[in-house]
Subunit: 288 residues, 2 copies
């Protein structure tokens, strides 16, 4: 698509997400100015062709993407406004409750969260197609300017994603379920495989490979993500841990007493898992 | 490859695994005779071009694959021998301890387990490439005839898989870790997503999709698999459930007291998860 509202884009934070957005914008013909406190990350993003380093004193960009950690968003936003970095602002923080509480409500800021990531991080892993077909949550408030929302929606569209407006707390519970809990579960599974030895691991099929893929994510980044959404993640995680404990108890009964009736409880979980998986596929297909 | 030992193959049980083996054998020019108690499954496999229905009274095949549930293997093997179905026999049961205890030790039988599957079951889901690049465990005993082992190894090779000889109990612990526990974990995660609603599920990215893929497996089939390997699965599952509970407790502390030091325990699991994932990838790559 050809953007009509965004001719110039500023991207603060040239990690995986920021650089991927910059690459998608560049592909659509947008002029992109990049900034990162980490000079190596900035240089790597520039080398990827994601844009040119932001020069001080230029005219404000049409939109600035603050692709920084959630807890840094309010301060980076304040600083960006002081510098008149852009007409409008959006962020990409993976939890929104805290951001909206501390920085929401302004007419020029649309809190956002593109629902995509990769097991690798940093500008070298960036990919202009990262968001294609993904959902991109926007949490505008009552005071958000229509022009700000329209501009951010244009960014979402030029990244090939589908915008989805949602309340911040609703978003945080949802991402706990569909993103944060799966990450912890994949990590716990991969952790259990550690030290099993090459002979055992060589037996792995596509199943365990897929199930543990996201466990390779950056632990420091995920520590922050989980900490920022601690309440929702804890609650949903308990449900999964309880299910697993029930199955373990049922199987221990089978092993000790040879009474296979205890397997009914196992079947029950397996059936619920099939249903959840089917609902998930339906929802993802409906999005496309 | 062109098989030298297997000119005729009998396949008893034309589900996903049996039919996939039959298709791979047919592609290599082997004559395949098929048998299934379920006439529809047999007809579907024949319609897929996997072979022709087994006719009584023919000369014995070079090898028979018993692609039936683990607990049925000893009886099906006894029956096949009485009928002089083949010179040698192998099975594909996903747990081996029980099969080896009840039917192992004979010179003509090589217990086996191809480490591949799919989220769909039945002959319609069969794929001659299903085993390509996968490990295929063989559990020969001291009494196994060399010719039997060589013949089964040829079957493994013509399916494009890599044979791996292993003790039956060692195998069962290994598959608990790399296959059965991942299945239960994926099911528990998918079950937690059930009923979340289309708006929430629409936020799902590739992470949760990959992590829950295997949860779509047939519950009745998996009930059997888990029941047959109950002791090993229960033990490994407890470890995963405990990890998840620890993370839930740490996150609840963060949410209640705002004390982010509890996140150290979370980071610890995430780091172990990264290590486990890296070891897994190393082992799988080394296999190729």
């Amino acid at each position: 698509m050809t953007p009509s509202r965004i001719r110039t884009l500023a991207v603060v934070g040239t990690g995986l997400i920021g650089t991927s957005i910059a690459l998608a914008a560049r592909s659509a013909g947008v002029r992109v100015a990049l900034e990162d406190r980490d000079e190596r990350a900035l240089a790597a993003a520039v080398a990827r062709g994601a844009g040119t380093p932001l020069s001080e004193g230029g005219s404000p960009a049409d939109l600035a993407v603050l692709a920084v950690p959630p807890r840094a968003v309010p301060e980076v936003l304040r600083d960006a406004r002081e510098r008149r970095l852009a007409a409008f602002y959006t962020d990409v923080a993976s939890t929104k409750g805290e951001v909206v509480r501390r920085a929401g409500g302004a007419p020029d800021f649309v809190p956002g969260h593109p629902m995509a990531g990769a097991e690798r991080s940093g500008p070298d892993a960036a990919d202009e197609a990262l968001f294609r077909g993904a959902a991109w949550v926007l949490c505008p408030g009552q005071g958000t300017a229509a022009a700000a929302l329209d501009t951010v929606r244009e960014l979402v569209a030029l990244c090939g994603a589908a915008p989805l407006e949602m309340d911040a707390d609703e978003h945080d519970r949802a991402v706990a379920l569909v993103s944060h809990v799966p990450h912890v579960v994949a990590s716990a599974l991969a952790a259990a495989l550690r030290g099993a030895g090459p002979d055992v691991l060589a037996l792995t099929g596509r199943g365990a490979l897929d199930t543990t893929r996201i466990a390779a994510g950056d632990p420091e980044l995920w520590r922050q993500v989980l900490g920022d959404n601690a309440r929702h993640v804890a609650r949903e995680l308990v449900e999964v841990a309880t299910s697993l404990s029930w199955v373990a108890i049922a199987l221990a009964e089978v092993a000790e007493r040879g009474d296979r009736r205890a397997l009914d409880r196992v079947t029950e979980l397996l059936v619920r898992g099939c249903q959840g998986r089917a609902e998930l596929l339906d929802a993802v297909r409906a999005r496309r």
